[in-house]
Amino acid sequence: MIRLNTTDSAAPTLPEPQISTVPVAEPEAPDRERMVGSTEVLCFLLILVGVLHRQIASLVTDPRLQTWLTVFVSVMVQAVPFLVFGVVLSAVIAVFVPRSFWARALPRHPALAVPVAGMAGVVLPGCECGSVPIAGSLIRRGVTPAAALAFLLAAPAINPIVLTATAIAFPRNPEMVAARGGASLLVAMLVGWLWLRVGRADWIRLPHRAHLDGLPRMTAFWTACRHDVIHAGGFLVVGAMAAATINVVVPQQFLHDLAARPVVSVLALAALAVLLSICSEADAFVAASLSQFSLTARLAFLVVGPMVDLKLVSMQAGIFGRRFAVRFAPATFALAVLVAATFGTVIW
């Protein structure tokens, strides 16, 4: 019996010869020439971190540095679901929605396509990290850039989740919801039309993405997902680091002193929105807490934040190119401040 058992247990090793018939994966010739590829660097890095992680963790004992790391990690953790959601949606647009759909869905005339695309932002329940890859994908699929940009600006500001959060954060100023939605949509449309007049197609340089057309659909889908997460996500990390730095180094006392001056306070909160880079679903609560500032200044904070901020500019530079970002961000910022100040003066 025992002998039988041993032969039984040895049975699973029998197919061994079969395994050896599978061709051993041989490295490609070009890879072999470059001795140190990214995979080797990665392995080295990971082993280093694995061995030294206790020492690395003990380096982070300064309370200010710990706060920085906590804020950085939490901006990333907060953004990852929205990033992944946006990337998946943009891959769906790239792979499963035929080009002809956009020609039918949007008005043929670009000047009319801008407001339609802007208002379409209502249906995208997310924050700004997701809308950058989506807008890039729309341009790739032949949507006129002006309309895609209007969508990019409007979607994170006027969707139902963000407006609901605004209503909850300003229980005694329900007009803030209408002001935010109206001003944001107007800025998005103005920027779209401005692009039609002065924008040049060669400012936009979409990153090289593996051609998806010849691939089986599911392969193309996952390839697009991987590419966009790596690309947009990498720039998101850069932006999150900048935002965490601002969060830790800007003294709050300084803000308090600014609030006393009406014109300066509007510009100050608009600039703060750019620097803090808070997710558009949360910025209303932060605006509400800045109660020493006027409602107009806080409206500027809410209009500028989802359109121009550090992580967004970083991502836009990555997805659309630097030449685009250095023109687009300042123009959007100026229009957003102007429209918000006008709305604020009229309402309050």
């Binding site: 906590t70 939490s74 992944v84 997902c225 991987r226 690309h231 990390v237 509400a288």
Partner: protein, 240 residues
């Protein structure tokens, strides 16, 4: 950055997000409501990485397969900036930064700046009655302690040195993630626990009609008369 490297980076990022969201670690950074989305996003990242790894292995086994690019050789490589994704992944896996604490409480102004014009309901039953710091603050400052009088109260928070160096009881409020954390600060009188900053304390005591101003933003800082207190481990949900 080759496809294989991208896949490994994505496995790390997805794995770090999954590990944080399947345990209570994610509560240090974001609100509880985000959990299902974090798990879904983590899974999607891992699946994306696995698909890329399978493609890579197939490609290595059959190099004659058409690559998923245009044949210029850079089709499978990704941008250098993708390396940055390793930073949050490794920070989440190996450093695991703590929840916001005394440092934020010292730098940021207290949340008690805006009078909420509501009728304050009577305190919950129980002796002592458990209150959040924010609830205590609103009742103490904007309702002149009417609902607090004559009751024993229990407040839980961490210790943070106040402007005069005396410990205060504080708790951070999140509306979305730690980047928007705002502290609530309560001044202490009576049996003040002199422990190191960031020690979590459950204290029992009574309301006293005394408030001060937070020098950072002129917010109101109510006071609390401590009768007894005990050290507790940091709660899983550190924020209010």
């Amino acid at each position: 950055m080759s496809r294989g490297t991208q896949a490994v980076v994505l496995v790390f990022l997805g794995g770090a997000v999954l590990r944080a969201s399947l345990t209570d670690l994610y509560l240090r950074y974001v609100k509880q409501g985000l959990r299902p989305f974090l798990i879904a996003a983590g899974l999607l990242l891992v699946i994306t990485a696995l698909v890329a790894l399978v493609q890579e292995l197939r490609h290595l086994n059959r190099p004659e397969d058409p690559p998923d690019g245009d044949g210029h050789g850079h089709a499978r490589s990704g941008p250098v900036v993708g390396w940055m994704l390793l930073l949050p992944a490794l920070a989440l896996l190996f450093v695991v930064p703590p929840a916001l604490g005394a440092d934020t409480a010292a730098r940021a102004g207290s949340a008690l700046t805006d009078d909420r014009d509501i009728a304050y309901p009577p305190l919950p039953p129980g002796d002592p009655a458990e209150l959040t710091l924010l609830d205590y603050g609103f009742r103490a400052v904007y309702d002149d302690g009417r609902t607090l009088q004559g009751r024993r109260l229990q407040l839980t928070g961490f210790l943070a040195p106040g402007p005069d160096g005396e410990p205060m009881l504080a708790r951070i409020m999140l509306s979305c993630c730690a980047a928007d954390g705002i502290p609530v600060k309560i001044g202490l009188r009576g049996d003040v626990p002199h422990e190191t900053a960031n020690t979590w304390v459950r204290s029992t005591g009574r309301w006293i009609p005394h408030t001060a101003k937070d020098p950072v933003n002129d917010a109101d800082v109510p006071y609390f008369q401590v009768e007894t207190w005990e050290k507790i481990p940091a709660p899983a949900e550190p924020y209010e």
